[in-house]
């Protein structure tokens, strides 16, 4: 399936992997290729199988069928301690009876590295995560953010071929989480190690990842860069899960090239882009709230009455009710330059070119 040339730039290849439990199927045939030195994110709601997939790469879960290749080598049958990958655990799983330094040295010692090598590498890692002055503390004497860094340093110390991160930021508070995002990304770029990051937080995924796989119910929904997934969702699930969007049910009238002519419930016609062959004569269109602007009621692609105005600080969200009773969210910047509509105003809505995406139901 893979020729020998591709082994160097494909860090992990997941081929037709299935995971069955007694009563349900956690992973329904997934194939993925994760490139060397890539920040790759497994994104999905809880129960979508993303953590199971990560655990199968780490070796804590056995795969039912399929293969997992690490730089071309089959690893699916190796126990966790024989796989050259390391994990940053969700709740860090730091060894409570060992100091920060001892925690970081643990993996190196298990690999049989000599003392001076262990100490040198531990010092390097402490430097990397800026915890030099905490080296002799025990994990319980550290804050959540510091524990997080120790977990990262411990997993990076043996220089794994791939680093697995299982929702490592979910236990931190918002501010810390945001600063750790940039830091993690920075560390990934500095070390050049392939990161496989699991999260249910779409913002986290968009900010850090080179590529994202969106998963749902044990299946891959879409793989692509952050902008690909946000701008051109391949189905309704992805459009809904990533960011905010408006859905309108439509009848498809005609489809020529990359564009389709659709009609919404009140009879208005809209031009939509679509990136997949569309079958059937009904569908749903997705329009991002920030791709809509207001104009006078006579102009615009759609028309409706403002029913709600929500103040969000940097933005204002306006909810407009269309004649067919559908609600459309519109986001506009909170600025003095543009007049913000009032409740009850009847206005036209103008869509940016390519803002409306036709998706299957």
């Amino acid at each position: 399936m893979h020729n020998s040339n591709s082994h160097d730039d494909i860090a992990i290849a997941i081929c037709d992997v299935v995971k069955n439990y007694d009563h349900f199927c956690a992973i329904k045939n997934i194939s993925l290729e994760i490139k060397d030195s890539e920040f790759f994110t497994l994104l999905g709601p809880s129960g979508c199988g993303k953590t199971t997939l990560l655990k199968m790469i780490a070796g804590f879960e056995q795969i039912s069928t399929g293969e997992i290749l690490l730089y071309g080598k089959q690893i699916a049958n190796l126990p966790p301690n024989r796989r050259p990958v390391n994990t940053v655990f969700q709740n860090y799983a730091l060894f409570p009876h060992l100091t920060v330094r001892q925690n970081i040295k643990f993996g190196l010692q298990m690999l049989g590295k000599n003392d001076s090598e262990c100490n040198r590498r531990a010092a390097e890692m402490l430097e990397l995560v800026q915890l030099n002055s905490f080296a002799e503390r025990y994990p319980l004497q550290l804050s959540g953010g510091q524990q997080q860094r120790v977990a990262l340093a411990r997993a990076l110390a043996p220089a794994p071929q791939v680093l697995l991160l299982d929702e490592p930021l979910s236990a931190l508070d918002l501010k810390l989480r945001q600063s750790m995002r940039t830091e993690l990304k920075q560390i990934q770029q500095d070390t050049g190690i392939t990161f496989i990051f699991v999260t249910h937080d779409q913002e986290e995924a968009l900010v850090m990842s080179d590529r994202i796989v969106v998963m749902s119910e044990g299946q891959v929904q879409q793989v692509g860069s952050a902008s690909e997934i946000y701008e051109a969702p391949s189905n309704k699930f992805v459009a809904n899960f990533i960011g905010e969007t408006n859905f309108l049910s439509v009848d498809v009238k005609s489809a020529i090239g990359d564009y389709a002519q659709c009609r919404i419930a009140d009879g208005t016609s809209l031009q939509c882009s679509f990136n997949k062959v569309h079958t059937g004569d009904t569908g749903v269109i997705s329009i991002r709230p920030e791709r809509i602007s207001f104009c006078s009621a006579q102009q615009g692609d759609l028309r409706g009455q403002v029913s709600q105005r929500i103040y969000l600080g940097t933005d204002v969200q306006i909810v407009v009710k269309l004649p067919g009773d559908e609600l459309i969210k519109v986001r506009m910047q909170n600025s003095n330059l543009v007049a913000i509509p009032n409740i009850g105003d009847v206005l036209g809505l103008k869509l940016e070119a390519g803002a409306a995406h036709l998706l299957e139901h």
Binding site: F60, P80, N81, N91, A93, L94, H97
Partner: protein, 312 residues
């Protein structure tokens, strides 16, 4: 005026209030203090005092200070008390044998108790509770009855020997009764749950993600057990060992009923001093005090070494 006075009066009220609460708390604690004082501290103090009194021949004490009990324990003056002073080894040997037996019993209890506790703690759902329940069932029966039953089971023509003979595993009955092995069996059977339960509690709290983390960092099974699991569940193991070792040391039912005269332990020695007319209360009290102080020394040493480790 009123505004100036008000803060003062509130502070006065609140301090009154808190001292009142303090009083109530003290009063509510009184029953506990009384029970502990009367039933825990007093008996030990009585033993301490008795050990320094003169014995009455038909049991009991004469209120007259004497070191005779301790003298009898440590010093050998010959049969008629006129020979040169030597160390009396009889009782020290009994102590030594008791510590050895208790240590051995503790080791066996740990070797069997740890996997048992681990097994129970790693069951899911209801079966965990059923196992725990099963472990405690024998304790609904009096220890004496259980020990006697054990004696019947292992005696020369008892069921164990019968089965082994029928199965052809042995050609003549094993004499288990009146041996060290029998005492060990008795102690093991008596105190196993005291090992299982605290270890179970520790293992149940153990974060299994730590084992995964260690495996992820290239540790094999045995390394994980030695370097990660054992340190984490150590408090339970220590509690279990103390709970088995201390009562084993003072046990008298198992050694008496199963061990016979050769396998005398401290517990039996003490028991004898308080039984019937042949007893010697001050001597029994003195042995108890010596035992108590030895146990305290061991536990204090252990506690010290623990705090030292934690501070370092």
């Amino acid at each position: 005026m009123a505004t100036v006075i008000a803060p003062n009066s509130t502070t006065a009220e609140s301090s009154n209030h808190s001292s009142l609460v303090g009083n109530i708390r003290d009063w509510l604690l009184m029953p506990s203090w009384l029970v502990i004082g009367l039933f825990l501290v007093m008996p030990v103090l009585m033993m301490l005092v008795y050990s320094f009194l003169t014995k009455e021949f038909r049991g009991g004490v004469i209120w007259e200070f004497s070191l005779a009990a301790y003298d009898q324990f440590f010093i050998d003056r010959g049969l008629f008390g006129d020979e040169p002073i030597k160390i009396e080894w009889t009782y020290i040997n009994i102590f030594w044998r008791s510590f050895w037996q208790a240590g051995l019993a503790t080791t066996f209890c740990f070797l069997i108790g740890f996997p048992t506790a681990w097994y129970i703690a790693t069951r899911t759902g209801n079966s965990k509770h059923i196992w725990l329940f099963l472990i405690t069932i024998p304790y609904w029966v009096n220890l004496l009855i259980r020990t006697v039953s054990l004696k019947f089971l292992i005696r020369d023509n008892g069921p164990v020997n019968d089965w082994l003979l029928t199965l052809g595993a042995i050609s003549e009955p094993l004499s288990i009764i009146n041996t060290n092995l029998a005492v060990q069996l008795g102690l093991f059977y008596s105190y196993l749950p005291f090992m299982v339960l605290p270890i179970y509690a520790s293992v149940e709290r153990y974060n299994f993600a730590l084992s995964e983390a260690a495996a992820d960092l290239y540790a094999g099974r045995w390394t994980i057990l030695a370097k990660i699991v054992l340190p984490a569940v150590k408090p339970g193991i220590i509690a279990g060992c103390i709970l088995v070792f201390v009562p084993s040391l003072g046990a008298f039912l198992a050694p008496d009923l199963l061990g016979g005269a050769k396998n005398f332990m401290i517990g039996s020695l003490i028991e004898e001093q308080f039984k019937g007319n042949a007893g010697n209360w001050p001597f029994g009290a003195a042995i108890s005090m010596i035992l108590l102080s030895m146990v305290l020394v061991v536990l204090t040493y252990y506690a010290r070494s623990q705090t030292r480790r934690e501070n370092s």
